[in-house]
Symmetry: D2
Subunit: 159 residues, 4 copies
């Protein structure tokens, strides 16, 4: 995997995005705190927002434009540092931290009132429809144009 950037490397700008969300009643469990799979739902939306921002088009458009089927997660990890509860307003800072030939990594940092509540790192692959069976998906190289956009602003692929 070609490393293209790491978010804490201050010399290298990279694509990033910040979103705001509210933890809702229905996101919470009988202990009154968020049911943790809801964080992964928020992160999936945050990654989509990041890519939409980078490509300048909505997901439904970029799926068509580049003839691909999605960018499913193949690995994810998260640390839940502070509990959040219904009514909490949170912000999610999302950054592309690495990109390879057919996969990329995205980091999310979710904060509440300025304090880091959750951090997560996910690896996604670029997939298309299988030529032999269009109901199946297979990983495929990311188009050079996408890589260029993902690494824009000096976040160059380094080989």
């Amino acid at each position: 995997m070609r490393r293209c950037a790491w978010r804490r490397d201050s010399r290298r700008p990279m694509i990033r995005n910040t979103r705001h969300a509210r933890v809702e009643w229905g996101d919470c469990d009988p202990a009154g705190i968020i049911f943790y799979p809801r964080y992964f739902e928020m992160f999936d939306s945050a990654t989509t927002a990041l890519i939409e921002h980078a490509l300048g088009m909505k997901k439904i458009e970029y799926l068509k434009a580049y003839g691909f089927a999605g960018h499913p997660v193949v690995a994810a990890r998260a640390r839940f540092r502070l509990a959040t509860r219904f009514g909490d307003d949170v912000s999610i800072e999302t950054a592309l931290v690495e990109c390879g030939r057919s996969s990329f990594k995205v980091e999310h940092r979710l904060s509440k009132g300025g304090a880091l509540a959750v951090e997560s790192l996910e690896t996604r692959v670029w997939v298309g429809r299988d030529a032999g069976d269009p109901t199946r998906i297979v990983s495929q190289p990311m188009p050079p144009e996408i890589v260029a956009r993902f690494t824009k602003g000096g976040v160059t692929a380094t080989g």
Copy 2:
């Protein structure tokens, strides 16, 4: 953290459980595959089933019996190896792999047709209500009786 067991250590039995589930239409996204936060929902239910099995009572009963508020996840990681689709029948093997003073680790291995599709490891803490503010939760030591049950069958805490 006292190590009590590691699942691949064949000399040591430990608590484990297997569940069966079906991936439903509503669990899947427009690419036709499962939306990955749904796996964490399945794993949460699987952990509950494991503990219910170990303690011989339902969660609603063990929360009351031990006066605690839950066992939220503080860290989770997963690898998604094979995509699953609506209608797929999967089995989830769940094992307690480590337990400490106020936390424990649980591993899940989800298979489809005998092939490993997802593996996940989660760390959970034992929490109670804060004495000063009952709407807040705080971690607390696991009762010795719970530790004994979790490490039953030779899965002894090793210090």
Copy 3:
């Protein structure tokens, strides 16, 4: 709309199915009871199970076999009579109660310990891909073979 059956009409057999489910921790809200949208998730799975039974194939297969895109809900209503809580085992009796040219109605009765907890009625349409724009869906007549199976006498399945 051609009436094909009404479940309380004892002279007319119809297709029906019963499923069993458990209300999980993650299905419940901070009041400790199920978050009601989860019932609609259960009902959607129950309708799929009913149709799979009637047609003798899985949804992924019948979508291919009949070249259609799904059977989305166009109207739904429900009465929530008894609250259910995490750990509750419920059973869902599902019956096709009416079928028309391109739509059909399904009734669900969810019980807990023999007591009716929720009843719901939904109307679904049979849809295919729009010829001009395959990303769009349009309602279309149900194949006669499907109607025949849906209105078949005495098709009572359990499981």
Copy 4:
């Protein structure tokens, strides 16, 4: 049930609220359209927002302030007129249309690009903890102050 307002009765102001939401990838099913239980999740959040506006406090605060356990839905119905897809921006107009002694009705109208996509009516009850068993909930009269706020003339909020 005392009628306090009906939204189409132009002589009577009532409380109402408008929210904006985006249909996300994870809200959609393999047909590429929203999985309909997600609408009920949106509506639950919209009702909370309406009440928070009317009472001038967050749900977590008003549950404490009025010593109650929530306002669960006892009946709901919806018509889904237009499909929505991932990336669609929708607006939800929510209005309190009736209030009684221990229950109230809320109407939601969800639009996409100015066109009505979904309309829904829900009945909710005001519940507290059962004195004999605090894990159970029971309906109770709404405090007069709440009724006064809910039926206050001209309380039209947006946001």
